[in-house]
Amino acid sequence: MASQVNGVDLRVSIGTLSLRNPVMTASGTFGYAREFMPYVNLHRLGAVVVKGISLEPRSGNPPPRIVETSAGMLNAIGLENVGVERFISDKMASLQGIPVPVFVNILGDTLDEYKEIAARLAGVQGVSGIEVNISCPNVKKGGVAFGTVPEMAAAVTSAVKAESTVPVVVKLSPNVTDISAIARSVEDAGADAVSLINTLIGMAIDSRSRRPRLANVIGGLSGPAIKPVALRMVYQVAQAVSIPVIGIGGIETAEDVVEFMLAGATAVQIGTANFVNPRASEDAVEGLAHYVAEQKLGSVRELIGGLILP
């Protein structure tokens, strides 16, 4: 198998960053990569995105945080993380050892927090890119998510961009009427790429106990169930912006990767599938190489936006 993988040109670029292949792992689903070393040859991946980091440490939501749904799952982790300082002091060392680009996913409650985290990460060795999670509520605007208002999304983007020395990817929320409008506004604000989708807001109830299944009541829906929505949004956004689009949502296999690329994605991220098959990302890279070879494409880049319309 490996022999066929070699020799196939799978490279893609996100801003100034060149990736070995388009398969990344999604924030919050791949730990700090270390956890997957028993299962995955990390150097076979395109890039790794680590769990969202906030300015201060957060202990996250009470349990239960996870519930399975039909072909999906809801999570309400509540952005548990060690905070940017301890992230830099404790986690970066092992991340620096990883042979692929590392994106740090960041989040905040206010514009200033985003700015501050970006500033702290600037120049930190091993940080290849920033992914900005704008699905978080803006506490100064009554909890309206940054990612749902074009102006707020643009403001976060500019703030982070001003502090960053590496490519900035803005990760879009799907819980909006017009995701293309948000994408255009973050593009105008200087984003080097957009990634989408984050989770759909959902809920589960236990009919016996009459209680919500998540302590947080609502949570984020991910997994194969959301793939059709993700694919549609990637398709729409890819037509609306000229920066690279990173497709996310229910991706499990190389076929899924191809579908997202045909819809217009330059790269993709695998999330929930890592829980089901920890080798999903590496398997997808292998499968993609076979596809490109079998279809006799010059490079994987020929797939980007290559959907044939009726």
């Binding site: 919050g28 689903t29 791949f30 730990g31 956890e35 997957f36 070393m37 028993p38 299962y39 769990k51 202990s59 996250g60 009470p62 349990p63 239960p64 945080r65 996870i66 519930v67 399975e68 039909s70 072909a71 999906g72 799952m73 999570n75 982790i77 548990e80 997994g223 194969p224 169930a225 499990e252 929930t272 890592n274 829980f275 089901v276 098959n277 920890p278 080798r279």
Partner: protein, 262 residues
């Protein structure tokens, strides 16, 4: 950290009671590394529904090649597993988590309720081989005789005698394992290993605290990944915040946890 994702063959299926099944799986890799108290994540089907793996304690190992899981059918995942056939393959991740910590200087008491007995079998075997001078005391509880009998037998085969308790009184004490535990004097040097329903573990923990016994508990939580990536499997800890059952546990020192006893 050595863990494997493997297609393992089902080499034996045993059905206890109507809804309790034991599978013997062939996996030298996982078996040879497994420690008592560790668990595996099992894919119960081939489709996206159910999507996630299900966690099961490693319940016994043999010959360094085979390990067992013992489970009760409670939902779709376990019902799919119960319908497997011998010779079929299951995708397994493991061994996972931190198991029981054993100190042979202590006196050992195993307290299991329902399917919580599963990991204690492995532990009982381990203790009876490793700490030969002081064989563990075993207290097991279940709903009814039918459910408990085969497990008591397994302990007996290890040369361990069992104090039983059943909800319906069909075997041993008619009532709770904690009643049995209360009636025994195990000395200050006792280490309890507990696995079972949360209220039972909370009760045993309080009893142990009172008496000055050490107490390790194996915690069940909802798990998406079993390997420290999803942060779903939390248990509140005494010092504030949470620990992660899949990688800090599932076995914890009971006094490090925050027990919300009502």
């Amino acid at each position: 950290m050595s863990q494997f994702q493997e297609k393992t063959q089902i080499i034996r299926i045993e059905r206890f009671a109507s809804d309790i099944v034991r599978l013997t799986l062939d996996s030298p890799d996982i078996t040879s590394l497994a420690q008592p108290g560790q668990f595996v994540m099992v894919r119960t089907g081939n489709s996206n529904d159910p999507l996630l793996r299900r966690p099961f304690s490693i319940s016994q190992t043999s010959n360094g090649k085979h390990f067992q899981i013992l489970f009760k059918v409670v939902g779709r995942g376990t019902s799919l597993l119960a319908h497997c056939r011998e010779g079929e393959y299951l995708s397994i991740l493991g061994p996972l988590g931190q198991g029981f910590r054993v100190d042979c200087q202590r006196t050992h008491c195993l307290v299991g309720g329902g399917m919580g007995i599963a990991p204690l079998l492995f532990l009982g075997k381990y203790l009876s081989r490793k700490c030969t001078s002081n064989p563990p005391l075993v207290i097991l509880g279940a709903r009814t005789r039918e459910e408990l009998d085969p497990l008591v037998n397994d302990f007996n085969e290890l040369g361990l005698s069992v104090h039983s308790a059943t909800d319906d009184g069909t075997l041993g004490h008619h009532g709770l394992v904690t009643d049995v535990l209360k009636g025994l004097d195990l000395g200050p040097n006792c280490q309890a290993y507990v696995c079972g329903p949360h209220p039972m573990m909370a009760a045993v923990h309080l009893l142990c605290k009172d008496r000055g016994y050490a107490c390790q508990v194996s915690m069940e939580t909802s798990m998406a990944c079993g390997m420290g990536a999803c942060l779903g499997c939390i248990v509140p800890v005494e010092r504030g915040g949470y620990a992660h059952a899949c990688c800090d546990g599932p076995v914890f020192d009971a006094k490090e946890l925050l027990w919300q006893v009502k």
